[in-house]
Symmetry: C2
DNA sequence: TGACGTCACTTGTCCTTACGAGTGATGACT
DNA sequence: AGTCATCACTCGTAAGGACAAGTGACGTCA
């Protein structure tokens, strides 16, 4: 069970052996792997080599290591929370978004003023360094413990053009959609989905385990003439939640888009 | 520029210092970082400590290291390819999907027979171990070099119920949608989006850099009575491509969904 | 001039040693 | 019996040394 030669570096051979044992079910999810000392003996290698192999498996998200306890096979668990990216409107004109009743705010939303970056400027159809109202929230789903960072961005010129909007730039998105609609806009939305590894601050505020990517959604509300009015960002750990969309066929032939 | 004490481990202090220098722009994207030897001298630490710090930055996706050359600041590059998740139908009844004209198949698609897993079974409204036609393709966008893995799964019972489908279970999805429609189905689709770290084989076939998550989309076609008929999976590196969706407001109030 | 070998630089791998720090059980002391 | 110190086990951090392997420039040789 210990002699392997094929691929390349020693630690990769060790990592491959452990990985195979995990994927084949020899090491069940949530079970305790052999300790570093045992792996050293089992494969006849030094501790740095064992630790290097373990580091590779951590980076793949296959195992979790707990100081003083050992390495555990990560319960490959599929996401436990499905976030429906849909928008509905009730007969009395209010907007309802799935998740609006799931998430709870863990703190007071923090409002601030900022400026567009290259990315947010592009999404909002503006240049760089345009003035914005910003509002950040930390959302928590008490059922699953899932945490998410939520941000809304409203251009100054939009806030000033819409009655009541400039006074409450940190309202709930559903309320903002209602104000925009009352102002005569017929809203449609586009969403952009990306994934990336967390920076340390995202890792801590979202309480992410090792090797857990972040799913990052940017929802832009478009009003009359398809003009971008409002940006809503959501980011959360991809280990706990997944996204769900509904699609129906258009009538017109589609054209590809590239950036 | 070398004395730091705050956070915790030495290598974390070194990593924090380098990270700050990168994010503040002191080290420009694509520029060469100091070599390990230089960092050892600069911070007065040993090589393992420097390498540990560098490993942390690699795991965050901030730098790329090339053997024999050095460490480079990753050009934080936003995705260069936007994949529109939309479906259109032309007047003559054919289905058109954006990306159908972008992607090229790098090899012959490989057809096979398999069985549902827990995940695919749930998506297709079946149990486990139900018989399926499978078809895998490797797609490449010659413009950006982006690679993607594509998979279609058709339950046996669906293939047998639809004329012509069982003979060509590895057709292009647009063709399959046409056959399903000709059989009398009015199609709608649901998509589930997840992100996870690649396994070694995904890493190699998609040619992914370090610390690059995979975006994984499962599109399910629903026919009459909302019955799931057909599963289409797409996965690609989140460093190169992003997803785009279009949303319009429903009429009915929405209800949350949990799994 | 051109081809090629060498050399200096880089990171990659692997080993040894040592100690710090978190965890849980064991056992002694009150 | 209950409390708490100790200990054995785990992983985390840090240092040192040695050699392999990839890269590119420089200089020599034909």
């Amino acid at each position: 069970m210990s002699e392997i030669q094929r691929p390349g570096a020693l630690y990769q051979q060790v990592a491959a052996a452990i990985r195979e044992a995990i994927l084949s079910g020899e090491f069940a999810p949530d079970s305790l792997l052999p300790s570093e000392a045992q792996l050293m003996a089992r494969y006849g290698v030094s501790r740095p080599t064992v630790r290097n192999a373990i580091a590779a498996l951590r980076a793949e998200g296959l195992i979790d290591v707990r100081h003083g306890k050992g390495s555990f096979v990560r319960s490959s668990g599929q996401p436990v929370l499905t976030i429906e990216r849909r928008i509905s409107r009730t007969t009395d004109g209010a907007f309802v978004m799935p998740g609006g009743d799931i998430w709870q705010e863990s703190e007071e939303p923090s409002a601030y003023r900022t400026r567009t970056t290259k990315i947010t400027g592009r999404l909002l159809g503006l240049g760089e360094e345009e003035a914005l109202f910003g509002c950040d929230r930390l959302l928590v789903d008490p059922g699953t413990g899932t945490r998410a960072m939520h941000r809304t961005l409203i251009p100054f010129e939009v806030a000033e053009a819409v009655p009541l909007l400039a006074e409450e730039p940190c309202s709930h998105p559903a309320e903002i959609y209602r104000l925009l609609t009352q102002d005569g806009h017929k809203l449609t939305w586009t969403e952009t989905v990306r994934a990336h590894m967390p920076l340390p601050d995202e890792r801590t505020t979202l309480q992410l385990p090792d090797a857990t990517p972040i799913l990052h959604i940017a929802r832009v509300a478009h009003g009359t003439d398809d003009r971008p009015l409002f940006l809503e960002e959501l980011r959360f750990g991809a280990d706990r939640a997944e996204l769900a969309y509904r699609i129906t066929a258009d009538k017109q032939p589609a054209r590809r888009t590239r950036t």
